[in-house]
């Protein structure tokens, strides 16, 4: 019997992309996706359930669909993406309810994969140059998003202890760049002049968006219990990242940086949340070797990721935005999936 998979956050970039990649695998029998928003990509056979963000109906869905694998991609990793209340609701309450449903008595779930972020390590001058998965952060979290991710992480840890029969994988992803995804860094690097903090040139790592979905699919199809860092090989100084992308830099003052970026935010030029500012000051790198030792191969190194991003940016400047636009239409999707008029198994 193939895998029966539940994907949370199907309406987000990651949920949709992941579902699209999983659909291509014949050993995946069924995918059901959950979100308040509609999918952003055309999906062939994923069933979409529109549900409120804290997953209160999860218990019913898990039992009714008999899913054996849960892919929790719906953790928000940018502090300014959502108001604090919604962030807490999604990251903390959402994760809690999801794991409660997965761990309920008689639950068919045998595997839980959580897409988290290396934000949980923070960025500080006391940090080791490469965080191993077991290393604690060196400064208490200051932003709401970091606190909520840490709280979600503690739920995942408890769940793994309470449910030894479930394979729990938590992947901590580093700053993502790619052709389609929008992150704080991709926004910053799209500016004609890229901000830096005067006197600082931190070491950073990047992960390509294809490696993000690749790692999640890999964890779905193989049993790799534990916490793993995901980052492209190597590190790059921020100045070199900007050089590869072909951008000049503008310095922000090293003192009161938070105030200096406020006008930029108000003018809607760029929103640099506090966790990104501390990355631009101290940088962060993680040890990515444990996940590689499980057999996973990256397609891109850190420099390769930045280079690929630079290429797609050049194409975009030449021909304009080329990301495919798609609008989910319930009736159309239902027709293609369930109508007897559709001829299935066409070879």
């Amino acid at each position: 019997m193939g895998m029966r998979i539940l994907v949370t956050g199907l309406g987000t970039f990651w949920g949709s992309h992941l579902a699209q990649r999983l659909e291509a695998h014949p050993d995946v029998e069924m995918i059901v996706g959950l979100d308040t928003e509609e999918p952003v990509l055309p999906l062939e056979r994923t069933e979409f359930v529109k549900a409120d963000s804290n997953y209160s109906i999860l218990d019913r869905i898990v039992r009714a669909t008999q899913v054996d694998t849960i892919l929790h991609t719906h953790l928000v990793v940018g502090s300014t993406e959502l108001p604090g209340r919604a962030l807490h609701e999604i990251n903390v309450i959402g994760t809690m309810n999801l794991l409660a449903a997965a761990g309920a008595a008689g639950s068919p779930v045998r595997k839980v994969i959580v897409k988290s972020s290396t934000l949980t390590y923070g960025a500080n001058y006391k940090d080791p140059y490469f965080f191993r998965e077991s290393m604690p952060r060196t400064r208490a979290p200051r932003t709401r998003v970091e606190r909520s991710l840490l709280e979600a992480a503690s739920f995942v840890r408890d769940f793994a202890i309470d449910n030894p029969h479930v394979t729990v994988t938590k992947l901590r992803f580093t700053n993502v760049l790619g052709d389609d995804v929008t992150t704080a860094f991709s926004r910053a690097l799209r500016l004609p002049i890229v901000p830096e903090i005067l006197g600082f040139d931190p070491r950073l790592q990047f992960t390509h968006e294809d490696d993000v979905t690749g790692a999640l699919v890999y964890a779905t199809r193989n049993d790799v219990p534990g916490v793993f860092n995901i980052a492209g090989d190597g590190t790059l100084p921020w100045s070199e990242v900007c050089a590869i992308v072909g951008r000049r830099r503008i310095p922000l003052p090293p003192l009161l940086t938070q105030w200096a970026v406020e006008p930029l935010r108000l003018a809607r030029i760029i929103d640099l949340p506090p966790e990104v500012l501390s990355l631009l000051r101290y940088g962060r790198a993680v040890d990515n070797s444990p996940f590689k030792r499980t057999g996973f191969r990256y397609q891109y190194s850190t420099a390769g990721t930045v280079d690929a991003f630079a290429r797609s940016l050049r194409l975009e400047t030449a021909v304009g935005s080329n990301s495919p636009s798609y609008r989910y239409e319930r009736d159309v999707e239902t027709f293609f999936r369930h109508s007897p008029a559709i001829v299935r198994d066409q070879g």
Binding site: Y125, K126, D127, P128, Y129, F130, R132, M135, I197, L198, G199, F200, D201, R203, N222, D233, G234, T235, L236, P237, S239, E240, A243, I244, P254, Y282, A285, D287, N288, S289, K292, G295, R297, S301, A303, G304, V306, D307
Partner: protein
């Protein structure tokens, strides 16, 4: 699950970066072979990718056409080091007139933890040792230091590019074990540099001997280094506790240099003669990568190395005729 073929296992090191022999050496060249060897030395100092270590977090073979700089995984840039070496060379050669003995104790290959005595309000020992080994042995040296540097704009970046690494045990372990590099550490720390002139050449305690545990865990030898001359380059006469509290520094020194040259003395060394003796490597008789090591053994090894450096210092001072001429 099938193991994919090792793609970078058979990768060849990238071609030597183009080096212009006309601009590279500034020191007068006696003959052409020496010029060639200087160029070769500068090329050799660029750490070549090691195909046997696929998880090395460094310049990947296929990335030579992407990368715009040569900053490595620890923030060190060989290019910046080369410039710094060129600028520092007159200081090293003509001001401190550094002389080495026992350099053969430092291996040409593989990790080793260099342990030296530390002194001076702004210690001159770290740049002299790093410069000396890099020019003589053509090997990079990473110097462990207080992580506070990282928080200071410009200084932190410069310090990192020139081979400074925050003294986190895991950073040292990676450098020694995974990347097989030379790591320089001053176990006395700021207690050594903050010592006043009348305590010269008396080693302070070696902290909690964390450096021994790092060497044990990474399975590398400890190489003790005794430096004479550094204590007279910028000696501290008094320390102001009030100014230290005010400036948030570990100590606020009033140096003899400041007394002699006024404010200029804050950045000016006396031309004391540097003699550096490298002692035979100490191999720690334990298995690497243990969870913990017996405290008693760690302390005993730390004391053994401390005593070796102290004895060497006294021995060298016995034969020293002049602070300025050695």
């Amino acid at each position: 699950m099938t193991e994919l073929p090792e793609s970078d296992a058979d990768a060849t090191p990238p071609a030597n970066p183009p080096t212009n022999p006309v601009t590279s050496p500034v020191t007068p060249i006696v003959d052409l072979t020496e010029a060639e060897s200087q160029v070769a030395r500068m090329v050799a100092l660029v750490p070549a990718p090691r195909p046997d270590r696929p998880e090395r977090l460094d310049l990947e073979p296929g990335e030579t056409d992407i990368r715009r700089g040569d900053v490595d995984a620890y923030g060190r840039s060989e290019h910046m080091r080369e410039i710094a070496r060129r600028l520092y060379d007159p200081m090293y050669r003509h001001w401190f007139r550094a002389e080495w003995e026992g350099l053969e104790h430092i291996p040409d290959d593989g990790g080793a933890l260099l342990v030296a005595n530390h002194a001076g309000a702004i210690p001159a020992d770290a740049p002299v040792i790093m410069h000396g080994i890099e020019t003589e042995l053509e090997r990079p040296v990473y110097g462990l230091a207080e992580n506070l540097f990282r928080a200071i704009p410009f200084v932190g970046t410069m310090w990192s590019r020139l081979g400074g690494v925050a003294a986190h045990p895991d950073n040292a372990y990676r450098l020694l074990k995974d990347d097989r590099q030379l790591v320089l550490v001053f176990p006395e720390g700021t207690k050594g540099t903050g010592k006043v002139y009348r305590d010269r050449y008396k080693l302070h305690r070696f902290g909690r001997a964390g450096f021994i545990e790092i060497a044990m865990r990474s399975g590398v030898p400890v190489i003790p280094i005794a430096v004479v001359g550094n204590e007279e380059a910028m000696p501290i006469m008094f320390k102001s506790r009030r100014l230290a509290a005010l400036t948030n520094l570990p100590y606020f020194p009033i140096t003899a240099n400041m007394m002699a040259f006024g404010p200029l003395g804050a950045a000016m060394y006396f031309p004391s003669k540097f003699r550096i003796r490298v002692l035979p490597p100490v191999y720690l008789d334990v298995a690497p990568d243990q969870e913990r090591y017996p405290r008693a053994q760690v302390m005993a090894d730390s004391d053994r190395i401390r005593d070796a450096i102290q004895d060497a210092l006294y021995d060298m001072l016995r034969t020293r005729r002049s602070v300025w001429f050695g």
